[in-house]
């Protein structure tokens, strides 16, 4: 256990840019660079201060190279790790180790996508398993629908409980002026919307938007000299269990159990001490699985937990407080947006949706088809 990494680094800048529908001609690097400039300005820094680049997007397989050119960054440490939507939690884990090892001092972690503008099928070309492809699974939704079917079978999870995740996300989005979908949404609305992959309807599925995001990570010592309240990385964990869904050992147990255990142990925090959680919600089944696997409730209780009101405002565990991938934004790989919302909650800048007294936040990323999992436990300066 790398205990020395606990609270050794801090997020000192965070920003998003271009969420929604990008104008014609927009390149993914435009959104990545714009978000990066704003995250750096937020941190009181400029591109000249950056010496480590951690970036990924399906549209730019060598993203750090694009971003370095775009912003004129002379990087001595770069990482293009792409394991899907959780990539940015992996980047934080790698960046803090790089900072501790002296490979870089100021790490820029960035994302940008124009998947809505160019179409999801061209923005994110699916790598198919040769023994799944003949059956033409629509991906990724087929894999998540299979997992949902299994969860319903093993634990009695209902479509209404799945829908309650989307309803809670929408209620949070209604408190967030920046959210893409803010119309009222009921459980009945979710159930009555177009069936996509049984049991998941259109409203059980995340949005398809454009957008970019970026954060700046430095040593905790340097962060203390910068203008914004530092958000400490108390713990981080990463794990993966398969690439394609056929190889997933159990469709009701994700590698979040491993990534979460690593992150919580390192942070010295228990799930009960977490004030707010941002758990990747690509589909309504995903936060249910992660609530269980991260230890916020018992295995199998994710559905009743979500439907109980625990994940809403004033609930035991405010979840996806920006509205999440279901109602806020989802430019293809949402993980960095979950981190940005955790930072904003810990800084107390969330306005109507602010969770009072927020000191400890979890940002959990999911990639592929429940394949890669990474968990960050983040804390305010008081948690050092």
């Amino acid at each position: 256990m790398s205990a020395a990494l606990r609270a050794s680094t801090a997020i000192t800048g965070a920003a998003e840019w271009g969420l929604g529908a990008a104008p014609d001609g927009t390149r993914p690097i435009d959104l990545m660079a714009q978000a990066s400039l704003r995250a750096l300005a937020d941190a009181g820094l400029t591109p000249a201060d950056v010496d480590g680049i951690f970036a990924a997007t399906t549209q730019l397989p060598m993203a750090p190279l694009n971003l370095a050119l775009e912003l004129g960054i002379d990087a001595r440490c770069s990482d293009a790790t792409n394991v899907g939507g959780s990539s940015f939690m992996f980047h934080v884990d790698h960046a803090r180790a790089a900072i501790a090892a002296g490979l870089c001092d100021v790490a820029l972690i960035a994302y940008g996508s124009t998947q809505r503008l160019v179409g999801r099928s061209s923005a994110s070309v699916q790598e198919l398993d040769p023994w799944e492809a003949p059956f033409r699974p629509a991906l990724p939704v087929t894999a998540y629908a299979l997992a949902a079917s299994r969860h319903m079978h093993e634990f009695g999870t209902t479509r209404e409980q799945l829908a309650s995740v989307a309803v809670a996300a929408r209620a949070w989005a209604q408190l967030n002026p920046g959210a893409w979908s803010r119309d009222p949404l009921s459980v009945d609305d979710v159930l009555a919307s177009r069936m996509v992959a049984d049991p998941l309807t259109l409203r059980d599925c995340c949005l398809v938007t454009d957008g970019g995001a970026a954060i700046v990570l430095t040593s905790a010592e340097r962060a203390a000299t910068l203008p914004r309240p530092p958000v400490l990385v108390l713990g981080a964990g990463q794990a993966h269990s398969h690439r394609h869904v056929t190889g997933m050992p159990s469709l009701t147990h994700t590698a979040a159990a491993q990534s979460g255990a690593t992150a919580f142990a390192q942070a010295g925090v228990t799930p009960g001490e977490v004030d707010v959680a941002q758990l990747y919600d690509a589909f309504t089944i995903t936060p249910i699985l992660f609530l269980e696997d991260l230890g916020f409730c018992a295995k199998g209780d994710g559905g009743p937990f979500a439907a109980s009101g625990a994940i809403g405002r004033g609930g035991r565990l405010p979840l996806n407080t920006n509205g999440g991938g279901l109602s806020y934004t989802h430019p293809g790989m949402y993980g960095l947006h979950a981190i940005v919302e955790a930072v904003r909650q810990l800084r107390g800048e969330c306005g109507e949706r602010q969770v009072p007294g927020c000191e400890i936040a979890v940002a959990h990323g999911n990639g592929g088809v429940l394949s890669s999992q990474a968990t960050l436990v983040l804390g305010s300066a008081a948690t050092a």
């Binding site: 398993d129 040769p130 023994w131 799944e132 003949p134 059956f135 033409r136 699974p137 629509a138 087929t142 629908a145 299979l146 997992a147 079917s149 299994r150 079978h153 177009r194 069936m195 996509v196 992959a197 049984d198 049991p199 394609h244 869904v245 056929t246 190889g247 469709l251």
Partner: protein
């Protein structure tokens, strides 16, 4: 010693002959998807033919606009491995987890000659 055939070539050839191959470790554990060596210890894998009988582990019905729902399922074969396939012979939404199923191969594709393993409820199998 000749190089072993790539797993995808072995499977494609077997499917064309109406066989359902899978791999086993030296300890007898079934392995799917196919790979070049046993997971974990890297020892050789051997090929075997499945009896093609198992049960539905997970299931969904895909609803594309303007088309009838179609089934996608994960099937647990009795030998201890799991593959993606579909269940024919009943409406896509009527496929239930736990249903006992048996393999049937599709007719050869007119262009490629490829065949794929699909499953039918065991009671309905001739």
């Amino acid at each position: 010693m000749s190089e072993p055939s790539p797993p995808a070539a072995v499977v494609d050839a077997a499917w064309r002959e109406g066989r359902l191959p899978y791999q086993r470790t030296e300890d007898g554990a079934a392995v799917w998807p196919p790979r070049v060596a046993a997971p974990g210890d890297g020892r050789p894998l051997s090929w075997h033919d499945s009896a093609g009988v198992g049960c539905v582990y997970a299931t969904t019905a895909l609803h594309a606009r303007g088309a009838e729902p179609r089934n996608i399922a994960l099937i647990d074969l009795d030998e201890g491995f799991r593959i993606m396939s579909r269940v024919d012979g009943l409406p896509a939404e009527a496929v239930k987890i736990g249903l006992r199923v048996g393999v049937r191969f599709t007719e050869a594709d007119a262009e490629t000659g490829a065949r794929i393993p699909v499953f039918v409820p065991l009671e309905e199998q001739a």
